[in-house]
């Protein structure tokens, strides 16, 4: 298990470098832009994957957390605080060094929150909201949980659409670049930005986030908490009999996945320079569920590959006007024919070919399914 984990991470790193070199060779570096975005969406999707696959909780509202992250960071770093300069709160923030002066498109002076502070605030808010709604929501099961999370996503969407502070139907644009690490000595600063010259850096940055996020989740799955989570999905009753506080663990994973989503939202918003209400729509949430399902609920690597791969294709416009329909179709087909993800399908068929008489693999599969059906 441990060895496979390290191998996978090294493989992923090599792949990322390989893609960069390939695009540099062939002069197709414009791919890097969509790959960068896909990596951030991938970060959200693996977080959701742990929630769905390992904690066994569906969430059809994760676009809501993405939007909370993105919108809060965007609003804080673009809204001018100069007119409120005398208010005690603004003064306090200024004294703490959390505000920065800048210039808007037309040369007007601005006073906005530093991206770092905005980012941290947005992630904390996402965590807090996840905590508050998670306590009651996670007591629900099955259809109730699905509807409750769907409802949460829709509320966020409606609030964004109806609030002038968040730009209503237009969303927020003109979000500044996010200087993650300032210039130190001869090293250039690390900046999250869609600027042309920073494309390669941002490509590596996005995959850096994704890889670190992946390592953390893999660590978690292998740890005591991870075993508790997996046991909870396997049999809630037996997990409780072993002294595992199932509600507490579900909640923690819910909050963790919300933080992943919010981080993805913050980064992508600074990268794109803006965010619109469609990012919070139900369709987006469903799409994330689809990506987790295609990758295979309990197969984090599959989720990562499918999450980044399919999002990249979608961003490239491969599916054209049928984009949403394609994801709907994927959802249905995967759930009908390969509920464990399409990667599991191939491995199984390979195994069947290698051991035509069924190496005890089939009954295992059946048991797995029968164990799954009554509970969840």
């Amino acid at each position: 298990m441990k060895k496979r984990k390290h191998l996978g991470i090294v493989g992923l790193c090599l792949l990322v470098v390989g893609i960069h070199l390939y695009t540099a060779q062939t002069g197709t570096q414009f791919y890097l832009t969509q790959l960068t975005m896909a990596a951030y969406y991938g970060l959200l999707v693996i977080g959701l994957g742990v929630l769905m696959g390992y904690a066994g909780q569906i969430s059809i509202g994760h676009a809501g957390f993405f939007a909370i992250g993105g919108y809060l960071s965007a609003a804080l770093t673009t809204h001018n605080l100069l007119p409120f300069q005398d208010r005690p709160l603004v003064e306090l923030l200024d004294n703490l060094g959390l505000l920065q002066p800048s210039v808007d498109l037309y040369g007007g002076a601005l006073l906005t929150v530093v991206p770092w502070a905005a980012c941290l605030f947005a992630m904390c808010m996402a965590a807090l909201i996840a905590l508050i709604i998670g306590i009651p929501v996670l007591k629900l099961k099955g259809h109730y949980l699905a509807m409750a999370t769907l409802g949460f996503g829709m509320i966020i969407y409606r609030i964004l659409l109806a609030t002038p502070y968040f730009g209503a139907a237009d969303g927020i644009s003109g979000v500044p670049a996010f200087t993650l690490v300032p210039a130190i000595g001869s090293f250039e600063p690390i900046v999250v930005s869609g600027a042309f010259g920073l494309r390669v850096m941002n490509f590596y940055l996005a995959f850096g986030f994704l890889i670190i996020g992946m390592i953390l989740l893999l660590n978690l799955i292998d740890s005591r908490s991870g075993r508790a989570l997996r046991s909870l999905h396997g049999s809630g009753e037996a997990a409780e009999a072993s002294g595992i506080d199932t509600a507490g663990f579900k909640l923690r994973v819910f909050v963790l996945s919300a933080v992943y989503a919010a981080l993805a939202g913050v980064m992508l918003t600074h990268y794109n320079g803006g965010i619109g209400p469609s990012e919070a729509s139900v369709m987006k949430s469903v799409r994330y569920v689809a990506l987790v399902a295609v990758g295979g609920m309990t197969n984090l690597w599959g989720i990562l590959i499918m999450g980044v791969g399919l999002t990249f294709l979608s961003l490239r416009g491969v599916f054209g006007v049928y984009d949403d329909a394609v994801f709907g179709m994927i959802l249905i087909l995967v759930m009908l024919f390969a509920p464990n993800g399409i990667l599991s399908l191939r491995i199984q068929s390979v195994l069947h070919r290698l051991f035509p008489r069924g190496s005890g693999n089939e009954p295992m599969e059946k048991q797995h399914r029968s164990a799954e059906s009554p509970g969840s």
Partner: protein
């Protein structure tokens, strides 16, 4: 050790457990028997907190536990197995047992996330203790196999190991011999005695009379939710009422 005082459980109109009281002394093996539907498993679920009691008190080592949640009951030192073995699919036998060590280890969510160095030692300890238990139950060779793909008897053993990994003071076994053949049953009997000798009090629900009469120190008989008798195995076998409910009112002798 464990004491039930006029415990009642109603499901709507059904009085599943009706005014049941008994005590379990430390270090003994107590069996709960009764015909199907007598409320045995319900009683177990009440003790472990899987179901809330309608009225009455249950105390464990002097502490009232009728309102605790299952995981809190486990934290008090109470482990259980299930009638139709509940293992964690997708996990190996060893991992299943390691889950049982949950309460005897303390690496938290965050330190798990970052794989902090101090958790490594604990992980090794968990692994070693779990292997030891698999060894004791003679299933060490299946440690790396997915637990749900093992034979039924082996799955029972894994479940037992998972329960023991908790280092409980009280072990509740729900039909430990169901679905086992005669040799495996004998094996289970030996094992339960050995568990008792380790200082763990055992309460079991069982249908297999030979096993019950063989190993238990005391027997409680339930019928339609009521306690019918409580005595030593020998006296229970002589108890006419018990014979009646097991063999039927009229044809007790015809059969």
């Amino acid at each position: 050790m464990l004491e039930l005082k006029s415990v009642n459980k109603k499901f709507g109109g059904l009085h599943a457990v009706n005014d049941v009281s008994f005590r379990v002394e430390p270090g003994c093996i107590k069996a709960v028997i009764g015909p199907n539907g007598a409320g045995k498993t319900t009683l177990f679920n009440l003790i472990t907190g899987n179901l809330p009691v309608t009225s009455g008190t249950i105390s464990f080592e002097g502490q009232e536990i009728q309102n605790t949640k299952p995981h809190q009951a486990a934290a008090l030192g109470m482990a259980r197995t299930f009638q139709n073995v509940k293992l964690f699919h997708g996990m190996t036998a060893l991992e299943c047992v390691m889950v049982g060590r949950h309460l005897r280890s303390r690496a938290g969510f965050i330190s798990g996330l970052f794989n902090l160095p101090w958790t490594w030692k604990e992980e090794r300890a968990i692994r070693a203790a779990s292997m030891e238990l698999l060894d004791m139950l003679q299933i060490a060779e299946f440690a790396g196999v997915e637990a749900t793909s093992l034979s039924f008897g082996q799955q029972r053993a894994v479940e037992m190991a998972r329960a023991l990994a908790l280092e409980p003071r009280l072990l509740l076994l729900d039909e430990p011999a169901a679905g086992l053949n005669i040799y495996e049953t004998a094996e289970i009997a030996r094992l339960i005695r050995r568990i008792r000798d380790m200082g763990i009090t055992v309460v079991l629900v069982e249908h297999d009379m030979s096993l019950v009469m063989d190993i238990s120190d005391e027997v409680v008989v339930l019928s339609f939710g009521r306690k019918l008798a409580e005595d030593s195995p020998l006296n229970i076998q002589q108890n006419e009422e018990v014979i009646k409910i097991y063999l039927g009112e009229d044809d007790a002798f015809a059969q």
